[in-house]
Symmetry: C2
Subunit: 322 residues, 2 copies
């Protein structure tokens, strides 16, 4: 089971009734946070999943509404007694930015491990000029595996370097009891083989079927719509995508600010063949996103205008049929 | 008229139902903010006084719960179109701290002017060892005048260097119409003289009575109770004072963490002969401060356990009798 909560849905500045956009994902006892603006720790507290299992933080870009909550979050983790390392992933510069913010969060009880993303054959994310559109090879990072979270990043097009993320949760083949018995594999080794590891001369392929369909979540904000996105988000079970405004007549303004409107996001969701899309990162001036949802659903039916702490549990395919 | 709002009452970490402690003061078209933690801009928005007239920010100390909201506030001011300078006052190091936080708030449309406090005959705030208690001369800053806000700072005793502040609002003498007529002072000069300025050979003392009682607000957080406080807050119309916990049996714990409990604050308020005290900076674990108010009121009657955006208007003495 994979729990996903969009703990905030605002863009630019925090409001008392709308936290800044951030996503919390919980899987196999570990939590991963994407973005951490001013107040993200507050909505995390409201959600009630605790802080103890937060092991990974992904930052999309260095605009304050996506990263300004880091010092407070780090201090809270320390106050709650964390000693285990926290991994923070981001574009080139993430270590410098976080350490600069840590001027007010020194003396933490836990270490921070940084992962700076590298894209394609390029030497680094920020080296790619924004005019070089749709160069998907250079835009895509290698897969990073953090525990059971398999992470890829796509270089988006925003007013500053910005990464979209996809999280993949892989699922091994089904354990074939008959084949294990036929090969006289000792019972005590079954669980090791099932977890994908070889043991005592036996290998997983001797007892496991073909890998089964996993789960995929994609998170795209902030960006103007670009052609590289559909391939990146392809077949996602859930797409979180920005929609700064709802109305089509705001398209020029939104795109001009390197953002999207609802219909931009819907076209990407449709092209990417995702199962469901949640819209987020609303402008502070955009008061009732839900009332504009038709701008998206006429293009992509399964679009929803998300609200703070909108939460779902994604199930692996077989489990859905239990 | 002087408006005061305690826009947050929490300590250590922001909660969804309690913002971090900060005070906003509005006087003669200008606003002054004391402290700016994570979410302070949110509660400012809820208060509804706007951002356009925010000219001064005072920071008590560099713990994150008092300063982490600065990047977000600066960006919001810039987004709202501010071009006028913003003055930020704080202890030695304020410029370095704010500039380090500004790694995520570059390119503002307005300049920041820093005022670094100097205490007594010492070369700077942080040079005074915390063991040198009650050395009031060295603990007190010179008066700083920012527009109509006359500010003094007191070096408190916390786990890091921390300043308490008092804001004084002075009131000149009453204009004596009879004397002005007797001296044949042209009518068009009256308003200039009334504002305290000399003009065309006439001086204010020719028409103004003795200075009248002004108003005074004091703000004391974070600190253990120290003997220098009563003199500093003396005769305040309003004292904002920390009370991390309410119960007397928490005194050792609170003082050990360089904080106060309600009764500590009440003794200071009584010794300082203040008119009214609002308690604030509650521990996140302290759920119902109002239910513990007797710990304070048995010592100092006019104590209140404040809540977010508790607001009052202070009037100059004569106006109270209109």
């Amino acid at each position: 089971m994979l729990d996903v909560s969009l703990i905030g849905t605002g863009g630019m500045m925090p409001l008392h009734n709308r936290h800044l956009t951030a996503m919390l994902v919980r899987y196999k006892g570990s939590m991963l946070l994407v973005d951490c603006g001013e107040g993200t720790q507050v909505t995390m507290r409201q959600l009630g999943w605790g802080f103890a299992n937060l092991d990974y933080v992904l930052i999309t870009h260095f605009h304050a509404d996506h990263v300004s909550g880091i010092p407070g979050l780090l201090l809270s983790l320390s106050n709650y007694g964390r000693t285990a390392p926290l991994t923070i992933v981001g574009l080139k510069g993430i270590k410098r930015i976080i350490n600069s913010l840590r001027v007010i969060a020194p003396g933490l009880l836990f270490p921070i491990e940084f992962v700076e993303l590298e894209f394609g054959t390029s030497t680094g994310a920020v080296d790619i000029p924004p005019t070089k559109k749709n160069s998907c090879d250079n835009r895509l990072s290698q897969e990073i595996c953090l525990g059971d979270f398999n992470i890829r990043a796509l270089l988006l097009e925003h007013s500053t370097a910005c990464a979209g993320y996809s999280l993949s949760f892989k699922r091994g083949g089904k354990f074939d009891v008959e084949r294990a018995r036929e090969q006289n594999i000792p019972l005590k080794l079954w669980s090791v083989l099932q977890s994908g590891k070889a043991v005592d001369g036996f290998t997983p392929d001797m007892v496991l079927g073909a890998p089964r369909k996993g789960l995929k979540i994609s998170y795209i904000t902030d960006s103007r719509p670009i052609a590289a996105i559909p391939e990146f988000i392809k077949n996602s079970d859930l797409l979180i995508c920005e929609g700064l405004y709802g109305d089509d007549d705001m398209k020029e303004k939104a795109n001009g600010f390197s953002h999207m409107i609802f219909s931009d996001a819907a076209r990407l969701a449709k092209a990417g063949n995702v199962k469901e899309m949640w819209l987020t990162h609303y402008s502070p001036a955009f008061k009732e996103p839900q009332s504009h949802i038709k701008s998206a659903t006429t293009i992509f039916k399964n679009a929803k205008a998300a609200y703070d702490r909108m939460t779902t549990t994604l199930l692996f395919e077989e489990l859905e049929h239990i």
